[in-house]
């Protein structure tokens, strides 16, 4: 009974019931708006909206969010520290007892927030969308089904990689440590994780590709769909509300005093 944090949650929430394309457009809008924003305060507001969608509208269980936390935070945190230490700073400020450069801190925070908003929004899409519906939606607006399907395959392999990493990690732990230097040992383990995960991951990917081709995938330029795509009213309303909010946010932050 393994648990994987990056899969569709079949909980019939308000957000789950919205059609897949509206959700995809919502994610794209979140990302585009976030790149328009110029202050960290408005980015925090955007993050709050995304978190609201995640917890209230999509009812993603806190446990799932908690489990996905490392993946959500890793990029943002890395970028935060990179900018914290590399951005030229003229002013020193005190953050939680540490002296850091103000510009570096602001820049780091900016990247952290941007990445985290983007990752969270994408995860909400994964958690609330049967990727098949997304595929049907994309095909209905004219995308060839082979391309639409690659989106699905990419998402499908996230949990596979996660599962594989877990298994390899457990297997390695019981092999013990063969080097007196913990750092060398760590490096070696990492090399091996990567190798084993990639080899087994590719093998599984190949098996999936074989299986799908041998079920007639790609036999014809088009295919039939049992389920048709329908735009949902709630999806359209949500998009309109979000666009209004995004425009408001962009104008609102223009009038903010410079922090």
């Amino acid at each position: 009974m393994s648990e994987h944090s990056l899969r569709y949650i079949d909980n019939d929430s308000f957000f789950t019931r919205i059609d897949a394309l509206s959700k995809l457009i919502w994610v794209i809008l979140v990302i585009l708006t976030t790149f328009q924003l110029t202050s960290n305060l408005s980015r925090v507001v955007m993050l709050a909206v995304v978190v609201f969608v995640m917890i209230i509208l999509a009812r993603v269980p806190l446990k799932t969010i908690w489990q996905a936390m490392p993946i959500i935070l890793i990029m943002g945190t890395l970028l935060f520290f990179v900018h914290l230490f590399t951005a030229p700073s003229t002013q020193i400020i005190n953050v939680l007892g540490f002296s850091v450069g103000k510009e570096g801190f602001d820049k780091g925070l900016q990247y952290f927030l941007r990445i985290t908003i983007m990752v969270l929004a994408s995860f909400i899409l994964i958690w609330t969308t049967d990727i098949r519906d997304l595929m049907v939606g994309l095909v209905s607006i004219g995308m060839p089904y082979r391309y639409a399907f690659t989106v699905f395959m990419a998402l499908r392999f996230l949990p596979v990689v996660q599962q594989e990493v877990d298994a390899v990690k457990a297997a390695h732990a019981i092999r013990g440590r063969a080097s007196s230097s913990p750092i060398r040992h760590r490096i070696r383990l990492w090399q091996r994780y990567m190798f084993t995960v990639i080899v087994n991951g590719l093998r599984k990917a190949e098996n999936t590709a074989l299986a799908i081709e041998s079920r007639g995938f790609g036999a014809f330029p088009d295919r039939t769909f049992v389920k048709e795509f329908h735009w949902t009213k709630t999806g359209i309303i949500l998009l309109i509300l979000f666009i209004v909010f995004a425009i408001w946010l962009i104008f609102w932050e223009k009038n903010l005093p410079i922090l």
């Binding site: 732990a173 007639g216 049992v226």
Partner: protein, 572 residues
């Protein structure tokens, strides 16, 4: 079957095939035919070309995997080298060993519709065929379920359903039950027979032949890429039985007994292919009185003591509910039970990867909570079902040396000497400089065991599914290794669905069902209780059914005949 003569569904003419980048052909000078609506068993030892043959039938080989094919193969009138794989899908459907990887959608009903949709069938017609197929495999109730929330058996049935829905005249099944518990295996077997009854041609690769020997129309025996024999299973066994024994092909136990007696010149009746036939054939055999009981080690040391152990995963799934047991020194113990009964969780607790969420577990006199995985690894060795996960180095030799280094043994001479010894002992010396990933399945398994034991301090070896994907000969070698270890005082614990293995080679079985231990005792006691066997989704071996059948006929058969050897040995 008196069908009018017609063009066979499958025809191989002078087929030779080399895998991409290999010099030796995987299949050689192969000629064979499969008739429409016939049920064919494909047998042969590990590495004899069974899977290659299957993949040729739907064109994956050579179209996607490359390699060099000479000769012609036609399936349903199509040349497999020239017809695109996607089109061949309408002629030959294949169920893979691990169907989880063949799923293309998230929900059961969508998955069944996926294939027909690709073939541009009319949506109305697809909906009908989805309904029919759901009924056929018995998944109607689970139609809205997510595919990854299915059990092993349901996954396999869905895999079968998604092939059946495309309505190909030929269905290829490559070891469809290798990962399933015995009762689920039986239910999948029933489905396979039902397919045959509906007029599909079925080509099946499996080691569980018991239920099929009398049902199949045809048996193809492969060895080293060549067709050794093709014909009715009864004829193939009668004419090539010796060869099958020699090759290490799995055969039902009654058949094996007949063949071995015949080879020794003690038997001149037709070799039985079912339990019922064997009961008839052996009904007049006299058996010696019961054999002496095996001696038990006096008061062995208790290595592991578990009391009311519980384990709950973070998603609130309670995998173990108050399990208590002891593991004593020098035993061979098996943990058995249906898929999802808590067996893997238990093994993870034993090696310290998980800690009990309630109850007490003591390993080597110290509480489980106080053991670190790395330290416990010196005492308890676990060989994963996929040994590749455990490999860390670029050659077999380095892999073994790593285990010694992990225990602080770094004197180069000592390391070399012990590595050489271990290589020789497991018969993998000639692959010492190969990459561990490049070994054959059997050798990988042995290397997995070797890396765990070379340190010399392990007192308990846990092996997950020791017979998975191995032919009879490879299995026998592994069993021999396990017995040698036991004679050195090492305790062996196996997690397995293989009832023959359980019945023949273990001292004690711990039976799990829904996270609880429902039995703990000798295999003889276990298999004598039909209720228990059913509750734990197990099945008795065909040898036991033979013995029961003989007893019902009034033949006096002594207790404790757990292997083919025991049975033959007890005959007068």
């Amino acid at each position: 079957m008196n069908q009018p003569k017609q063009e066979p569904l499958v025809r191989f003419e002078q087929v030779t095939y080399k895998h991409y980048g290999k010099t030796a052909p995987a299949l050689m000078d192969m000629n064979l035919t499969i008739q429409r609506g016939s049920f064919t068993l494909l047998v042969g030892p590990s590495g004899s070309g069974k899977s290659t043959l299957c993949m040729l039938l739907n064109g994956i080989i050579p179209q996607i995997l490359g390699g060099k094919l000479t000769g012609t193969i036609t399936v349903d009138g199509h040349d497999i080298a020239k017809t695109p794989v996607q089109e061949l899908a309408q002629s030959a459907g294949m169920l893979f060993q691990d169907p989880e990887w063949m799923f293309a959608t998230l929900k059961v009903e969508d998955e069944i519709a996926f294939g027909p949709e690709n073939l541009r069938r009319d949506p109305k017609q697809i909906i009908e065929s989805v309904e029919k197929t759901l009924d056929f495999v018995g998944l109607q109730r689970l139609r809205k379920n997510l595919v990854w929330a299915l059990s092993g058996g349901q996954t396999q049935k869905l895999g079968l359903a998604s092939v059946v829905a495309m309505e190909p005249p030929l269905i290829i099944l490559d070891e469809p039950t290798a990962n399933l518990d015995p009762a689920t295996t039986h239910s999948v077997h029933q489905l396979i027979l039902k397919l045959r009854d509906e007029g599909k041609a079925v080509l099946l690769v499996t080691k569980d032949l018991d239920e099929f020997m009398a049902e199949a129309d045809d048996m193809i025996l492969l060895a080293e890429g060549r067709v050794v024999a093709q014909g009715a299973p009864r004829d193939v066994v009668a004419q090539h039985g010796d060869k099958m024994l020699e090759l290490g092909v799995w055969l039902p136990e009654p058949t094996e007994i007949g063949l071995r007696l015949k080879a020794d010149g003690k038997f001149n009746k037709p070799v039985p292919i079912t339990v019922e036939e064997a009961v008839d054939v052996f009904a007049d055999v006299k058996f010696n009185e019961s054999k002496p009981d095996e001696k038990l080690v006096a008061d062995p040391e208790i290595l592991i003591h578990a009391e009311n152990v519980e384990f709950t995963y973070s998603n609130n799934f309670k995998a173990l509910r108050g399990v208590s047991f002891d593991i004593k020194q020098g035993e061979i113990v098996a943990i058995v039970g249906q898929n999802g009964a808590g067996k893997s969780t238990l093994s993870k607790l034993l090696v310290g990867l998980l800690k009990p969420t309630a109850g007490e577990m003591t390993m080597f006199g110290r509480s489980a909570k106080r053991w670190k995985v790395q330290d416990l690894a010196n005492q308890i060795a676990l060989v994963f079902q996929n040994p590749e996960h455990q490999f860390l180095c670029d050659t077999v030799r380095e892999e073994l040396a790593y285990s010694l280094l992990a225990q602080g043994i770094d004197d180069a001479d000592v390391v070399n000497k012990r590595v050489e010894e271990m290589l020789a002992r497991l018969d993998i010396t000639d692959t010492a400089d190969s990459h561990p990933f490049s070994l054959s399945a059997g050798a990988k398994r042995r290397l997995g065991v070797a890396t765990m034991l070379i340190g010399g301090s392990a007192k308990l070896l846990i092996v997950d599914e020791p017979t998975y994907g191995q032919d009879r000969r490879l299995t026998e070698r592994l069993i021999q290794l396990i017995n040698n270890l036991r004679s050195e005082g090492i305790t062996v614990l196996m997690i397995t669905h293989d009832m023959r293995l359980v019945d023949a080679h273990i001292d004690r079985a711990i039976v799990m069902a829904n996270g609880e231990k429902i039995f703990d005792g000798s295999p003889n006691m276990l298999f004598q209780s039909p209720e228990l066997v059913e509750r734990a989704s197990l099945r008795t071996t065909s040898l036991r059914r033979l013995v029961d059948g003989l007893r019902a006929r009034g033949v006096s058969v002594p207790e404790g005949l757990n292997t083919v050897d025991d049975f033959i040995g007890a005959m007068q």
